[in-house]
Every structure is written in structure tokens, then in C-alpha cells.
Symmetry: C2
Subunit: 193 residues, 2 copies
């Protein structure tokens, strides 16, 4: 088995996917490389694949009316980097997903994902649990934006994404925190960074 | 079968729940009445049940540091009115869920829900699909707050919750839109309401 598939293999085995139910996944999907700045999902376009990121890093972002970009989430491997809502509904994606490093993803056609869920209990369970994680994170983020100051959101960012601050430009962190790069610099000066 | 169970029964039959797999649900759950102002979920407390609202209306809201309340979503029967993330994680609820009318819910103990998902494919599928709907709505709401003006959010509120404006006080709509009651009154005057 290609090394990029190993982690996912172990995860789905734990939710009850049998050896024979794994093979159609390996056969129906492929590995893709994404260079820094390359987008695997483009806002406004149909989404026909889900992506599981095995190495590297992605950001999911909205482009606002004035052209500014707003980072909603970072995906650090290994994890899904995918517009799941668009995969389910068939609507165009509302946000883009862009690689921030030399990244590798497993590209999973929606039809393959759907047929695995239909055929195999273990796959359905795996998707349900992954979806629960996505949902919990959405709620967490909603609360952070409601309750926390910029400074507190910055601290939570470090807890949630250990080491990430060193891998990405500061303005991408500012965009995630919902503040301007200037405000973030000021905040860091006050902190003595 | 009690009439309050009928809709849910038809829904889960469609995701493949068998007659024999329905019985433990009916036996393991109970009907509750919730008067206006009554809370079925209390922020800060453990959540041991999921709730399916069969008649009436609920609001999910955060209480901010200054005591203001922020309505994140309204649940109009028939639909789930539940802190699903807290049910999964076992963490205390981050928000409260309050009845706004004389409402009826099916109270589903987390353990019953868990064992139904473990035993029965159809139940797992039903929960997965319900979760997808919750997730899609969270994304929609995220976009509304990012992209839309207060006026546009008000229009979307009417589309999403037809007839609801006549059933609840205006300040609850303002709280959902993320504006003050005064701003909402001004907006409605401009509209000629």
C-alpha cells in the first residue's frame, strides 16, 4: 500500500471497514500533489471530489465583496480538506481551498464516497464520525468569535494549531482571527513577541 | 403509535430502519411538554438527551458576558432541537435551548441514540443525514454573517422561516440578525413595514 494511504486505512479499519471494503477505495481514488498557492476547490465551482490531506497544509477561505480573503479554517495533515456541504448538496462551493505548502491529498470522487457509504457500514460510520468532528469545530469557532477577544483568539489559535504560526505568513493568521495585520502586529508587540 | 412519533417513524423508515428496530426507540424515549420560556438544555450543564421537536418552536441562544442573549438558530417543528456537539463530546452545553410556545419534544437519551446507531444501519444513516443538514445550515449561517447586510439577513430570515416573524417578539429576530432592536425597527420603517 502506498504510504499516503496508511493512516486513513488504519482509521477506517477502526470503524469496521473490512479488508475487501478497503480495496474499492484504493482503486477509486488517486493521489494528487498540490504546490503552494494551488487550489483544490474553487469558490463558485461544482465540487466533485472530497480530499483527504496526507502531507502539508491548506487554508479554507471566503473571498469578500471587497476582495479581502477571510480564512475560516486551516487543515493540517492528516485531515480532510474538503467542502463537504458542496459535496452533499451539489451546489457550487462557497469558499476556496488552497495549498500553503507542498501538499499531498487523496482525491475521493463524491460518487465513490457515496457508493462506499451505501455498501459498507464501516464507511458510513467513518464518514459520520468525521462529520461530527467537522460540526464540533464549527460550533467551537462560532463561540470563539462570539466570546473571545482578539488576544484570546490568538492564544486559542496556538493551542489548536501548535507550531503553525511558524509555517504561515502573519497576515493569514490575522485573517483567521478576523483582525487586520496591523492590529495583529500591535497585539504581538504588546505581548513582547 | 402516538401521533407525535409518526413523522419521525416515516423519516427513519426511509433511511432503512426496520420495524423491529423502531420499537426500542419508542420504548427508550418519552414525550415531554415544554411551556413557553422553559429550557430543555441549559448552558453550562451536561447534556444527556437529544430532542426532536414535534410541535411548537425553540430558540438556541448564547448568553454573552454582558448578559445579552444571542439567538443562533430557531427550531420550528418538526426538527431536532438539540445540542448535538455536547451530546457527542460529553462537555457541558455552550448554549441554552428554550421553548417559545407550548411545544412537544421526543426526549432521546444519548445512550439510546448511541445503541440504536451501533445496532442498526438505518439509524446510523438517519443520524448521519440529520447531521449533514445541521452542518449545511451552520455553513449557510456563517456565510450570511460574512456577506449579507442586516437588510439582506432579514430577507433571508423570512425565506428560511416563513411565518415565524408573526410568532415571536421582534427583539428575538433582532438578536438573531445580530443587530439591536432599535436598528431593526429603523430597518422596518425604511421598508415601510
Amino acid at each position: 500500500m502506498n504510504g499516503h494511504y496508511e493512516l486513513l486505512y488504519h482509521q477506517v479499519r477502526q470503524t469496521g471497514v473490512k479488508e475487501a471494503e478497503w480495496r474499492p477505495f484504493e482503486q477509486g481514488t488517486r493521489l494528487l500533489q498540490a504546490a503552494p498557492g494551488e487550489r483544490i476547490i474553487e469558490a463558485g465551482q461544482q465540487v466533485r471530489n472530497a480530499y483527504f490531506c496526507t502531507t502539508g497544509l491548506f487554508r479554507l477561505y471566503y473571498t469578500l465583496a471587497d476582495g479581502r480573503e477571510y480564512n475560516v479554517v486551516f487543515t493540517v495533515a492528516p485531515d480532510f480538506a474538503t467542502a463537504y456541504a458542496a459535496v452533499i448538496t451539489g451546489e457550487p462551493a462557497a469558499y476556496s481551498i488552497e495549498s500553503m505548502e507542498h501538499s499531498t491529498v487523496i482525491e475521493i470522487p463524491s460518487l465513490v464516497l457515496q457508493s462506499l457509504m451505501d455498501c459498507c457500514r464501516g464507511w458510513e460510520r467513518y464518514v459520520r464520525r468525521s462529520l461530527e468532528r467537522l460540526y464540533i469545530r464549527k460550533e467551537e469557532r462560532e463561540r470563539e468569535l462570539l466570546y473571545l477577544t482578539a488576544k484570546e483568539r490568538y492564544d486559542v489559535f496556538h493551542l489548536k494549531y501548535p507550531g503553525l504560526a511558524a509555517r504561515i505568513p502573519q497576515y493569514h493568521i490575522a485573517s483567521y482571527l478576523g483582525i487586520s495585520p496591523v492590529s495583529l502586529s500591535r497585539l504581538l508587540r504588546q505581548e513582547g513577541h
